[in-house]
């Protein structure tokens, strides 16, 4: 079914982080713990859902020349909504995510999908696209965070997995760990792709 295709593509084939390489800034910063990764993923997904929906609904009313500023206003408002609601109801998560909550505005995924999809498609496909991309983004963040938190802190979601005697590889939760993990994962996914291509030959 058409909608299902729009939804699923965001998870692997067109995964925003590993494939299209969008939304990298928050990716490296919030993946030092799985909890932050999930929080950021859901917040960004919510903004993506709202912005894709609204833009898809009003796309006919916006003159082409001012479409980018218009999208920006819609996205910035959605982000401010998330910012305020999080600060009021989830203060500790808000504090951990810090500056990256307002930065969802410039998360290329959101503007990217608005321009590439929501501005050219109807409401329901746009919603499917947003959900798929959001989920793909969240899963990618969680994967990265899983490795970083496990190896860098011995825990996953704060629960000690590797035991008391595990000496954490501190590098993993520091900036270099983020870059290295992402680079290695990218290499891994590319490797899987090449293998698949060779198989098909």
């Amino acid at each position: 079914m058409e909608l299902k295709k729009e939804f699923l593509k965001g998870i692997y084939k067109e995964n925003p982080i590993f494939r299209i390489m969008l939304g990298l800034c928050p990716t490296l910063a919030v993946t030092s713990s799985v909890e932050n990764a999930i929080g950021m993923g859901l917040a960004a997904s919510f903004v993506l859902l709202v912005s894709n929906s609204i833009i898809s609904l009003i796309k006919g009313l916006i003159p082409d020349k001012i479409r980018i500023p218009s999208y920006i206003v819609v996205i910035a408002s959605a982000v401010t909504v998330v910012d305020l609601v999080m600060a009021a109801y989830l203060p500790s998560l808000h504090k951990s995510l810090g500056i990256f909550v307002p930065l969802i505005v410039v998360n290329c995924i959101i503007l990217g999908r608005a321009e590439a999809f929501a501005s050219k498609n109807k409401l329901f496909p746009s919603i499917a696209d947003a959900l798929g991309m959001g989920l793909g983004f969240t899963l990618a963040l969680m994967l990265l965070a899983f490795f970083r938190e496990l190896l860098g802190n011995g825990t996953v979601l704060g629960i000690n997995i590797l035991g008391e005697s595990y000496k954490p590889v501190l590098l993993m939760i520091l900036p270099p760990g983020a870059f290295l993990t992402l680079g290695l994962l990218l290499g891994f996914f590319n490797f899987m792709d090449i293998k698949k291509q060779n198989k098909e030959k």
């Binding site: 009003i58 009313l61 916006i62 003159p63 020349k65 001012i66 500023p69 218009s70 206003v73 819609v74 910035a76 408002s77 401010t80 909504v81 305020l84 609601v85 600060a87 009021a88 109801y89 203060p91 954490p168 501190l170 939760i173 520091l174």
Partner: protein
């Protein structure tokens, strides 16, 4: 051409207007909660480091020095303790440690409110470990001390009952120790006049 500019401005203004209206409404609803969280954060921390019998807290400032008075009664007549933040220039950040004392100026509680020291080394000032034979958070070593018996073992090997410095984080340890000692003296001086008010 001119028509277009008017059209563009109108559309943008409408979109922006709608957005601002929604945000203003939401802001009104969430502001009280957000302010409350900020107050709670500070109050909870201060209560945590003050003596057990403190029920009311008051913030005061004299000559640029901010501190908190703790009262053991709701009418705020009986002073039971004080608290203030000690600032110490650490390895890679200015460490902020909240210290609470009783009326004899013996430390009753300590809490790291801010630090950006090296993770795994200096950051351990707020982590659990075994110090002086006891399993405790590093900065809790200061509890029970007065300003005349705060010594870091690395700098005073001849003294007894010293603060055990963190392995590989002497600078962070020293920063906190010096800051707490200095601030304790300052707190004592600045609160001298309270009783006579």
């Amino acid at each position: 051409m001119k028509n277009n500019i008017i059209k563009f401005s109108v559309v943008l203004t409408i979109i922006t207007g709608f957005s601002v209206a929604i945000l203003a409404f939401l802001n009104l609803k969430t502001q009280p909660l957000i302010q409350q969280h900020r107050l709670d954060e500070i109050n909870n921390a201060v209560k945590e480091v003050m003596p057990q019998d403190v029920v009311q807290i008051e913030k005061k400032e004299t000559d640029g020095f901010t501190f908190y008075i703790g009262y053991s009664d709701d009418q705020k007549t009986n002073i039971a303790g004080y608290a203030t933040i000690a600032y110490g220039k650490g390895y890679s950040s200015v460490i902020q440690a909240l210290i609470g004392v009783d009326t004899t100026f013996t430390i009753t509680g300590t809490k790291v409110i801010f630090q950006q020291e090296t993770p795994g080394l200096g950051s351990k000032i707020e982590a659990m470990g075994k110090y002086n034979g006891k399993k405790q958070i590093w900065i809790h070593q200061f509890i029970g001390k007065k300003e005349n018996n705060i010594f870091l073992d690395k700098d005073n090997p001849d003294k007894e009952n010293t603060i055990q410095a963190l392995t590989g984080a002497t600078i962070s340890s020293r920063a906190v120790t010096k800051a707490i000692k200095k601030t304790l003296v300052e707190l004592k001086n600045k609160t001298q006049n309270i009783g006579s008010e």
